[in-house]
Symmetry: C3
């Protein structure tokens, strides 16, 4: 059995940003020499996620608009009445009492999830033709880390 | 260490459909000879998911109604005002500019997630008594694939 | 390759409760002797979840308020109009026709997800500094189980 661990660091220009990492994950698999197994791709932060979806700009923009309604930020006006009602009843997250302003990013993390496990078959990520892997930053503009753990033989 | 890979193809009669696959996953485990390990069950599409929940028809119908409010389709009228407000502000997903009409299915995929990892103990899926595994189709009526990857010893 | 399986039982005092289990998962890793690998942490129920986030009381209280809006319970008044509209159109979950009252817990399970896979590096859970692991009970006050499956070498 082999394992191989790679850490990636991101510092996004935008507060929220989707970064394609499919090739980084494949590189980690290549380095590992694993032909059959699994690879875990996991954000090491509580305000980021990993999503497998379509590398189509419209989807990514739609996703951000939609996530901003479901998990609204308090550092911007709620985009509409539904978002306003999904904010905490007191108008601000309890989490912000300590001086933070990223409560929304914790719930975007919950919705998107912070990790995925991908199958490796014959040395390749065994993904469907439109599946791309994204690191989803919801509170960026600072250094954040991701761990890629390959396991197999 | 052993690995075993099985692909399943679905062509659902309905656009949205939950298909129970617990037994298919157990069959893959049986074929693998793995007694202790994990099995990854992963939709190979960006408009489908895998959910572990109760095989009770009411839950599945409830789930579809609820997902249609949270991630509304534009090929049907929004079921209510909340769903209407959760649609993109311009009324249609940017993703549809290319001629697609399945934007909602991408976000149902996000909510449900496209994969699960299940424990294998003494050769059996180590599930609780009410846990069943479902392939969740959100844009069906065409061939879609799922990969089952067993790993262990 | 080694595997190690641990079951934990919870009986929470509250119907909904977040229980920190980071140390229990590390203990399972320690017992296993695995230095490099993965650990699956999976609720064995369809009304519970596992979440990796911040061990900060405000976040956990925020999370519960927010989940109660997105996946509203019928054993309490909907907290606001959005929650009311996210309830089933007939006002009650179909799942409750059999006498249950925990439909909301099934959808909180969907949002949170019932399992996570965590990386193990040099014998330690390879988590970021603020990542804590929580068992998320959404229908407690009775015995519920969780399985921890360690795999690696």
């Amino acid at each position: 059995m082999k394992t191989h661990t790679v850490y990636k660091t991101f510092q996004t220009a935008q507060r929220r940003e989707f970064v394609r990492i499919t090739e980084d994950v494949q590189d980690a698999v290549d380095e590992s020499g694993v032909r059959e197994g699994m690879v875990l791709v996991s954000a090491m932060h509580i305000t980021a996620g990993v999503w497998v979806n379509d590398d189509e700009p419209g989807i990514l923009e739609d996703a951000l608009e939609w996530l901003d309604k479901l998990a609204p930020a308090t550092w911007q006006s709620p985009p509409n009445e539904v978002a306003r009602e999904l904010l905490p009843d007191d108008g601000d997250y309890r989490h912000h009492r300590g001086g933070e302003d990223n409560g929304d990013a914790h719930f975007k993390n919950l919705l998107v999830h912070h990790q995925v496990v991908l199958p490796i078959t014959e040395g390749r990520l065994d993904l469907g033709p439109w599946q791309a892997v994204f690191y989803c930053e919801f509170d960026g503009r600072r250094r954040k880390r991701l761990v890629i753990k390959v396991m197999g033989e």
